[in-house]
Amino acid sequence: MTRYSALALAREGLRGHRGWRPAWRKPDPKPAYDAVIIGGGGHGLATAYYLAKNHGVRRVAVLEKGWIGGGNTGRNTTVIRSNYFYPESVALYDLALRLYEGLSKELNYNVMLSQRGMLIAAHTPMQMEICARIANAMMLNGVDGSLMGPQEARARLPLLNDAPDARYQCLGGVWQGRAGIARHDAVAWGYARAASALGVDIVEGTTVTGISTTGARITGVETDRGPIACDRLGIAAAGATPGLVAPLGIRLPIHDYALQAFVSEPVKPMLDTVLLYLGTGTYVSQSDKGELVFGGGLDRVPTHGQRGNLPVQETIVSGLLEMFPAFGQLKLLRQWAGVVDVVPDSSPILGPAGPEGLFLNCGWGTGGFKAIPAGGWLLAHMLATGAHHEVSRPFDLTRFAEGRLIDEAAGSGIAH
């Protein structure tokens, strides 16, 4: 792997950029691996990288039915934060945030992490009390969080709707300064390139059609390019996970819904934080290219189709205009949806399931981009050691039968 550097860029600039090589190899699948990962999204690719890097397990394949990052990893609005409520969640999402903070260097790939801060804005004294509770919980859990007052919020967001008849006045809210955004494709490509350099096979265009077992143990997978043997299997297939494990008699607490995102035409810099309005449920940031990237709540219709419905589009767009009336002048450039794997307590599922050797990393729902480095780190740990990491243990599938839900929808007031 040639290292990317300012020097390499200058050299290639002088040579007309003819010397760049593909960032990862495109191998055919081998008949057997030490570990196979289903799903070439951020979580699957990060798992492969940390398996090779942290545990020295290098006979690894990532099997992706389409192209890497073509699932939710390449469809999300890239908000990264660790402003959750429960200690288990903060441990998980802050592990991810800390890994993100060093990721461009670690991977020698610029993931364009921009820690521009995020405000969850409140509009009533009661909401401000809830925000104070979240900020206090964050401080107790050892991450940066604070309560921001109305003056500072207005100073940071000068275009906010402060008309006397505004439906939702901004009273301030919870602020996390380390929150921000990153480039989603770069996260997928960066992990793929670094994993490939360590010997991992990233096999695109290969669909897993079945999981083979002896009953008690994993023995491999069936694919549309033939069988592949392995005794350790990680599934990081987001909304496709329930269908993959159903033939093994495993029923997951996952419903699949569409989540939409929108991008406006690019304009000059005017918004340098991430903003979520509790009142409208709409959140927005401005990309480095100048586009507004925004989204909101789920389509409330269970679906596997990567398409959004009109009523939710209307809610999200009208929410944005309530927050920033001036944005009404902008045109929408693109709109799309991804199928997200929603769990009743809005927390992921990490851990073993069914036959020995099988581990799941799924259920990230609407918020798993921010968790990619941690999800990969933890699934790699489980595949390599056969046991939970202390950060992943609370997220085991057994929490449902044991009544130990980690209810972040109620806890941190997340948008979905």
């Binding site: 329930p242 607490p253 419903h255 219709v301 269970p302 596997h304 419905n309 039968a401």
Partner: protein, 91 residues
């Protein structure tokens, strides 16, 4: 805007409807004999079928629950029916 059929009110906006559960779930009983696993599967377990699905929805404006047969990929609604009466099996 998609139009969903209510067996009681006829065709209405999708925003008037709310998804309740996958059809065919039966509350395990008697309670003292129900295991934690069976109970949590009843509460949370889902098939999340890709393609044809049978689902219980509620039409919020009339308050009636109903059975929808839908395609979860195309979002087409294939059939709408009243819930079966007490003692009859919903499938």
């Amino acid at each position: 805007m998609q139009i969903f059929p209510c067996p009681f009110c006829g065709p209405r906006d999708e925003t008037e409807f709310h998804f309740a559960a996958e059809a065919g779930k039966h509350r395990p009983e008697p309670a003292p004999e129900v295991t934690d696993t069976a109970w949590s599967d009843y509460l949370y377990g889902a098939d999340a079928p890709k393609g044809r699905a049978r689902e219980v929805w509620v039409h919020l404006t009339c308050g009636e629950f109903l059975l929808l047969t839908r395609d979860t990929v195309t979002r087409e609604v294939l059939d709408a029916a009243a819930l079966p009466g007490r003692g009859e099996a919903a499938t």
